[in-house]
Amino acid sequence: MSTTANFPTTSQGVFLEKDIDTNDMVVNIGPQHPSTHGVLRLITTLDGELVKEIEPVIGYLHRSKEKMAESRSLFQYQPTIDRVEYLSSFFDHYAFVAALEKIADLHVPKRVQYIRMITMELNRITSHLLWFGTYLLDLGATSPMFYAFREREKILSLFEDLTGARMMYNYYRFGGVVADMPEGWLDKVRAFLDEAPKRFDEYEAIVSKNPIFLDRTMGIGIIQPEVAIQYGVTGPTLRASGVNLDQRKANPYCCYDEVEFDVPLGTKGDCYDRFVVRMQEMRESLKIIRQAVDNMPGGDTADLNKRRESGDETANDVELQTYGKKINLITYKPPKGEAMVTVESPRGFLGCYMITDGTPKAYRIKWRGASFSNLSILPELMRGRLFPDLMSIFGSIDVILPEVDR
């Protein structure tokens, strides 16, 4: 501490910076903070307005999801994985179910794969919409959240018609889905597809050229491609840096090799690019859903039921059923084996590694959550940045805490 500082009088209005030594200040952000979207504590070392060091403390939401798998049969465990990443649970379920289908070599009918693809892409839109609303809320804009939730609500109603639940679906099964689509469900999806692009245009009219939004996101939080790869960052956060890595293209699962879509890429890797990539991804998702709805094997359930009633044998084809082979879920014992399935969730790579040992329970299940790796880049991004940029950077990497802690 310097005691010889020569403070100017207040009438001069400014303090001299030289000869003043200041201590660093340690500020705790969280664990309960509205902008952390969960329970995250950030130990921030501040030098005035500049962030010198930031350390995320995680584990507040740990519910031992991986250990739970070892004390429950696979079917008993399945409803609980909705809670791993609750904003996009269809992806969790797909990774889990596909891992077992790989081990047990179960046949999945084409109609089921298309239903899964539609639901997953709709779920990607809901997740991105929620991100869009809350990110702008973090930056101080209130109205876009209500508009984003309005469209999200429409998709959630579609999910409710299909699965009976709005967030915790528990809809996929080993080698199939619980039940076929209700009659007329595809028409409802089509109605949403017609309406959605207009709404997305509205969002962009409000936000994407707003000078306040541009000032807070352009050139802020730049992630270099090499750094992103070193940290294991995936998903839209990585693609905004210009790295073309999408599991749907790189290693097609489900039926993604049968639909045409583009992978939006950013150029600079700042917060604005991440915003643009996510907005474009929603439009690409609409494109995928439209192709899947049009090419749905068997078409709408009402048509299929009519064909079945009129005695058409082709309507009872195995590709048009809801289950490839019905298994007894109470006593099912998968064969010995191990498999890893990685899917492209709205946040990045979501992996499920499963080892079975011939009993109804899994020997081990490991989840690879995208948010965990994406969060690890935050200290790197925040070093030497202004403190008010924290929420704009943290929000833009779209972390969801239950997935980090599991």
């Binding site: 008993q76 909705d82 639940a165 209700p182 009219a205 050229k209 707003n210 000078p211 879920l329 109470i330």
Partner: protein
């Protein structure tokens, strides 16, 4: 350059405000919930119930399938014995709705389509004990069960 930025900023904020202003003339999308009830789908995961035979007798055979697939441990508790004719008699059937996660696993494995889910979602109560439902609280009457089976496309019960 600065003038352009200021001018374009004003234009863009004006465009945003005009978009927001359009919503004034659109019908509201919200529901006045307690007065207006939402229309729920037939597959809705609500409160659990037990269907009965058309005569009002127990349909449950006490096979414990629902208890075995429940992810919440001992949420469903069933005690049964067999009478002189080897027919199952359910002595006790309790479900702790307060701990139920509404996943629907039990409804899927039931071999006699007895345990099902209703559209009832207003389940709040003043004590935890009141949420533990026994057989009389869970069972629907014979007529209600027939109505449920008709609405949900289940096969009518035959002796």
């Amino acid at each position: 350059m600065t003038d352009n930025k200021v001018l374009s900023g004003i234009v863009e904020i004006g465009r945003g405000m005009a978009t927001v202003g359009k919503h004034l003339f659109r019908p509201p999308v919200t529901l006045e919930y307690p007065e207006v009830m939402p229309e729920l789908s037939k597959r809705f995961h609500g409160r659990l119930c037990l269907l009965t035979k058309s005569s009002g007798e127990d349909l449950c055979i006490g096979c414990q399938a629902c208890a075995r697939v429940c992810p919440c441990g001992d949420l469903i508790q069933i005690e049964m014995h067999r009478d002189d004719k080897k027919q199952p008699v359910i002595d006790r059937f309790t479900i702790d709705i307060g701990r139920c996660i509404f996943c629907g696993n039990c409804t899927e494995v039931c071999p006699v389509d007895c345990i099902k889910m209703l559209n009832d979602f207003e389940l709040a109560d003043y004590s935890r004990e009141a949420l533990v439902l026994d057989k009389s609280g869970l069972s629907l009457s014979g007529e209600e069960s027939d109505k449920y089976r008709k609405e949900h496309g289940l096969e009518p019960h035959v002796e």
